[in-house]
Structures are given as C-alpha cells and as structure tokens.
Subunit: 297 residues, 2 copies
Amino acid sequence: MTKPNTLKVGLIQHACDADRAVNLALTEQGIREASRQGAKLVLLQELHTSLYFCQVEDTRNFDLAETIPGPTTAHLGKLAKELGIVLVSSLFERRAAGLYHNTAVVFETDGSIAGKYRKMHIPDDPGYYEKFYFTPGDLGFNPITTSIGRLGVLVCWDQWYPEAARLMTLAGADLLLYPTAIGWDPRDNEPEKRQQRDAWMTIQRGHAIANGLPVLACNRVGFEPAPGQAEHGSLFWGSSFIAGPQGEILAEAPSGKPTVLVTEIDMARSEQVRRIWPYLRDRRIDTYGEITKRYRD
Amino acid sequence: MTKPNTLKVGLIQHACDADRAVNLALTEQGIREASRQGAKLVLLQELHTSLYFCQVEDTRNFDLAETIPGPTTAHLGKLAKELGIVLVSSLFERRAAGLYHNTAVVFETDGSIAGKYRKMHIPDDPGYYEKFYFTPGDLGFNPITTSIGRLGVLVCWDQWYPEAARLMTLAGADLLLYPTAIGWDPRDNEPEKRQQRDAWMTIQRGHAIANGLPVLACNRVGFEPAPGQAEHGSLFWGSSFIAGPQGEILAEAPSGKPTVLVTEIDMARSEQVRRIWPYLRDRRIDTYGEITKRYRD
C-alpha cells in the first residue's frame, strides 16, 4: 500500500492596489503567515502584483509587464528560499516588445525557478479584455517538477476546460493549481452571483473528480472600479478553495475577506481513489480524436 | 435574440424486480404519469427491465439480453407513439451470440427508433462486473436527432469522462442524458456515501458547465442483494436530477424513493449562457492532440 504522505498547502487571497509595492508587501505577509502555519507549498492569486488591469484596453498597461526572470521573481525567489517553500506566483510577462503573456512561475525551495506556465486559454468578455494583453501560451500543458511533487499549474480561464486538467493529469501532475481573478458584475442579482460562483467551484471540483487529483484555486477579493467608469467594475469573489481527489472541499475562504487559507492534503489519497474509481484505465482513446476539432460539423 | 423555447422533461426513477414484466409495468406507469404532467421527453434509468445483474459474473444472465429491435423496443415504441413523446430507454442488447452491449435506444414520437447509443466506457469494480457482460460501444459519440432536439445520450460510467460530454457537444447535442445504475456499498459510512453521491452530481454538473448544456441523469433506487451473498449488495442512490447549462440544479429526486421527476427546461438558455461564457470559442485545439494517449509518459 502507498505510505501516508501529507502536504500542507497555503493560498494567499487578498485585495489589490494600484501600487505594486503595496501588493507585494501584502502577498509577502500572507506567504510568511502560511509558512508560519507550516505550509510547504504556497499558491498566489492571478496577477497578484497589480490591479486587474484587463477591465479596459489601454496600451499604458503594458508598462506593468516585466521580464521573467525579473524584479518580482528575484523578490519571490528569495522569499521561497528563506522560508524553504515551493511558491507558485502569477505574473504579467514581458517576453519581447509587443509580446506579453499571463504567466505562472514556480519557485523551488532553493529560490530557483522550477518552471513556468503560460496561460493557454485567453478570455475576452466585457470587463475581461485579456485577448488584448496576453498572447496565448506556447508552453503546452506540462506539469512543473518540484521537490514536493509535479505541479499542474493552470491559470484562471483554463479552469473551464476539462482538456487542460486532463492533459496535466496524463503528464503526471500530482496536484492541479489555479491562480485566478474572477468576480461579479456588481449589478448582477444575488441568485445570479451565487450561480456563477457555484459553477466556478463545481467545474474545478469536477476536474478533481475526473482526474483523481487535489485542486487548489486562489482568487482575489475586493471591488476594483473600471477606469473612467466608476459605477462599473469587478467585485472579485475570493472563495479560494482546496478540494481533494473526489472533489470534496477540504478548505474554503470567504468571498469577501483577505484570507491565508492553510490545510493539509493527504497525497496518498489520489492513488486510493483512483483504485476504486479507475477512470484512467477505461478511457476510449481510440475514439477521442475529434476533440481536436473546433466543431464536429 | 433567440426565441423562448421550453421543453418539459420527465425522469422515471424506480426500484427493480427480478420479473421483467413487473419492471416494464412500473416504467410504463411512470412514463404515463410524466406524460400526464406534460413531459415531451422521458428518460429512463439504466437497464430498467431487470435487476442490476452485473453484481456477479454468471453466464445465465446473458439470457436477459434481447435484440434491438425486439420485444421491449416494440412495447416502448408503441407507448412513445401513443403518448406522442420522445423516449430514451436503456437495454441489454444481444447483437450476436457472445456479443452483447449496454445500449440506449431513443424512440421518436411516431414510435420509430430514432437511434441508439452503445455505452462506450465499461466499468469493472467489485459489484459492477460490466466488462464481463458488455462489449465496449462501437457507435462513437454521436447525438441522436429527434423532433425535440439532438440528444447526447451517454450511459452511466460515461458520466465520469469529460471527453464523452465534449464530443457530444461538438457534434451539436442540445442536451446530455445519462441513464444510470449507481449505488452505495451499504457498509460504507454516511460521510463516504455523501461524498460519492456528491462527486457523481458534481462531475455531471461540471459537464453542463463546460459545455453550456442541460444535463439529465436518471438513476434507480432500492437495495439489490448480491446473488449468493445476501449480506452484500448495492443500495442504488436514486437522486435523479436535471441541471441547466450553468450546472444549476433545476429538479432533483430523493435518494431512496421512486419518483417521476418532471420539470421544464429553457432550451434558449444554452445559447445565452454560451454568449457570456464562450468556452467553445477559446478551445486550444492546436494543443489537445495528446488527449488520445493513454498516458503522456
């Protein structure tokens, strides 16, 4: 039988400010608190160094992007090393002039960069104009190997795609991790808000179930007004959570409050769950070819 | 804008008996009740004409299989015609000597067979020895066209596979439908039971969300002792449900009681939901090729 094997993880959910230094300080404070509570893996929210600037299309926002490695990776790498943790961050990457990505960076316990993932699915909806800013990722769906396991890091909009979770699983991911920035239009009514948030949790719990893997999702909180139209904006719904490999919720943060969410994951449980629910065994790979079509018409 | 377009659907959840005539009479009674309540589409549970015989491997159980068309399809086709409904049944198909399938059959309102689907993913777990009985389906994932829409009919174990739901969606399904026979080992404790049932609902709601489609799942109820080992058996958990295209539960049956579950689905809502959550637009089909691998190692 598999030996007991637990991993304490921490998610840092907070509101963001226009000032990068303020955000980094908040994030660092959360990381230190999670580490104090024993977390060996810490997941940050999407684009944690800035406001969610994609509410508008403004070329000046490209100034927020930075290189990888760059100043923020230097800062976070140092912190990961000091605390001896694996850290998953989410940055606006400047790859070249006119070429930017929404990129997750994983730091090893020695402060080095273990790997990065460039967001593959890019949304574009009113208030989420990401196609203007982010070139779709070109690194594929590949887990990042670290000292505490292989991390299937995906980002926000990816969370709605079962294909992404499956490809990470097939490549040996031990965990699925989603830095996220998702919120409500404050004009939506309460039932609509509940339904959206519930769908967001449900589909990610579904990935846990389909793949027999724990899922970690870290989302920001707070209202961010849309520049130039103060009455509009996004109310980010927090609700960061950690689910086990049957989709069971292990820990959940509130929707409106900064939270350092720390919990222990039984890493041996995935194998036990996959023995009773052996979905990988029965996949009809001989018949899945048309998944690569836009539409079967 | 899309015009309002509602469809009343009915799910027939009941316990089963060793006597085929008793089961068919119960099923027919439920279908008539659903029709009386206005249902135009009725979904039956998996293998509704018999006990869930896959609890043991016994060659005599192949006697339960029948041809399609055959006596049960004749009976159900007549009923569909009389009531003017589209009916989705689930039968143990005898295709040839030594070649059997777990097959869903869809009847048109004129009593004809609109199409069939042979269960593609076949489980094999203690108490669910389906690989002994059912040859994996060879009809692929193709919706069945009817007068009330294109039905993405899948069966039980298929419900754990996002690939199946996606392929039906890409081929134009308007609804996803799952006849099911799933239950608890009565020796499991209550938290374990809740977690399994919750996972079962969550992953199917996840398919609704990922694909922007309503999902209907019809499961049997009742305890069926395993032949020759009366203390063991399966306690089927019912809980048949209908979810909308954001995974929202529209109607749900209890876990322990025969139920005719009728509700109205807004068929125009899928298009509205897909406009605000346009997942099909952003699929990275250029990078999904390895979904057809057993494992990416």
